[in-house]
């Protein structure tokens, strides 16, 4: 993997000396993605499939191609198994509102979820009395799988979990959990927002019913995401919104939805976003996950080893040598996380995240850090020099704050 070449594809990295380690929030966008979106506005810019003219038809074909690229990327069938959404959050909310919940239904989720895979289930509890069972992992994010087996009962309808934690960097054994759920005829939803950008996913191999992820964490544009829906569940799911371009037929007292993604994407779609999403995937595929994983593992190891040198730093998540993504969360003893992250910004032009990471249940119940954490997260364009700069500034912060 040629890091210098990769870095030259990102304007922010070309034009500044910023160290961008906030990739778990949003990744940077390469020129090719921006170009694909600009090209749409400059050369096509028509409403896909609404009009009988060449630009509209071209827009429609390109937008359909984008669905096929995203589907192929996660091992889904290219014909209609992937619906575009605003982001992973909307994808999960689509499932929460789209399933016809029955009296007494139960949902299993976990205490490490991002709010996007937690609050929708809490709302079902408040609105419809759906019961929520919550599984807690240990402090490093590892689950005891037998707990899932034990808690499933005849009323359990859905198991919803994240493929990788946005705080701990831990990876959930998704295939095993799906298998446990399938054995008991329980639906499965996987929040892949923190996994898909970093590792290869095959939804058919996983066997899940729903898989949600966002474009903006994987070099794509903001405001784009996707939901995989297994063929078995397509007809059981209602769209989040209804409107133009979604129906096969409608009358004064009925409507019939179109098959495929069309039946779920009412109104004028974010076509440039879809094209940018497909372009981001092309970039990742060209680079190759084998190389990306190897690179991120090297940087993550360097980060953790560097932070562990300091007595007063507490890191969270799996230890060295255990499988994890490039997310490293930590705290400096006695110093508030926002203060710490602002010091990285001011003293090193290093951009990281601090606070609760939209994961209050995890902060309060698993790692018990109600003020949150500081989080550094790597991606394919980060370098060892950047991690070393991060560690140098860490030392400077430690010296000043703990003297």
């Amino acid at each position: 993997m040629n890091i210098e070449k990769i870095r030259s594809d990102f304007k922010i990295l070309r034009d500044s000396d910023v160290v961008y380690l906030d990739n778990a929030a949003t990744s940077l966008t390469p020129d090719s993605v921006l170009l694909s979106m600009n090209r749409f506005y400059e050369e096509i810019n028509a409403n896909p499939g609404r009009s009988v003219h060449t630009l509209a038809s071209t827009a429609r074909i390109l937008y359909d191609d984008a669905h096929r690229s995203v589907a192929s990327f996660i091992g889904a069938d290219k014909d209609g198994e992937v619906i575009f959404t605003k982001n992973a959050t909307e994808a999960i909310n689509l499932v929460a509102s789209g399933i016809r919940w029955r009296d007494g239904d139960r949902i299993i989720t976990t205490a490490i979820e991002h709010h996007s895979n937690f609050l929708p289930w809490l709302r079902l509890k408040q609105r419809y009395g759906v019961k929520i069972d919550i599984i807690c992992p240990d402090t490093s994010g590892q689950f005891n799988l037998s707990e899932f087996k034990e808690i499933i009962n005849d009323k359990t309808r859905l198991l919803a979990f994240s493929h990788a934690s946005n705080v701990l960097g831990s990876i959930t054994p998704a295939k095993k959990l799906v298998s446990i759920a399938r054995d008991r005829k329980v639906l499965t939803l996987i929040d892949g927002a923190q996994f898909v950008p970093h590792r290869a996913v095959d939804v058919k191999e996983l066997g899940c019913d729903f898989y949600a992820f966002s474009a903006h964490k994987m070099l794509g544009p903001m405001g784009m995401g996707a939901l995989y829906v297994s063929p078995n569940e397509k007809d059981n799911l209602s769209p989040l919104i209804l409107g133009g371009g979604e129906v096969k037929d409608a009358g004064l007292d009925f409507f019939e939805l179109l098959p495929s993604w069309e039946g779920f994407e009412g109104g004028t779609q974010n076509v440039p976003g879809g094209l940018g999403f497909a372009s981001a995937i092309e970039y990742i595929e060209k680079t190759g996950f084998d190389e990306i994983v190897k690179h991120e593992e090297k940087l993550t190891k360097l980060l953790i080893q560097g932070l562990c040198r300091f007595d007063k730093i507490e890191t969270y998540g799996p230890g060295l040598g255990e499988d994890r993504t490039g997310i490293v969360s930590f705290n400096i003893h006695g110093v508030n996380p926002h203060r710490v992250s602002s010091l990285y910004n001011e003293w090193g032009n290093i951009l990281i995240r601090s606070g609760h990471m939209c994961a209050y249940p995890l902060m309060k119940n698993i790692i018990k850090r109600p003020r949150g954490v500081v989080r550094a997260s790597t991606y394919l364009y980060n370098t060892e020099d950047e991690v070393n700069r991060f560690l140098e500034v860490t030392e400077k912060i430690m010296k000043f704050t703990l003297k």
Binding site: H338, R339, E346, F400
Partner: protein, 104 residues
Amino acid sequence: MRETFNYRDKSITLYCINLCSYGDSGDYELFPDEDMGILLIDQVKNLDDIGCSVVDVNESVGFLHLRGMEITLYPSGRMIIENVKPDDRLVAIETARNIFQALR
């Protein structure tokens, strides 16, 4: 949310962003629309006069305590105010304005 105030005969607009909330307190980031060029080390007495204790300071950052709030102040005027009670953006803005007005 933003608020405009006078600092050394200049009009400064202060932007306020909500960072995190927990229970009845919250954290905020505030920053002015231009670099205020504060000489932090020279401001210890002025801050002390408004009841703001300077826990630590150097030329690039000041750690302050004021009525239970933990404040990080940079020479540019950027400020992180943590543990704001009640959790209200107006309280954070008022706190920042009082601090800026104390600077000489």
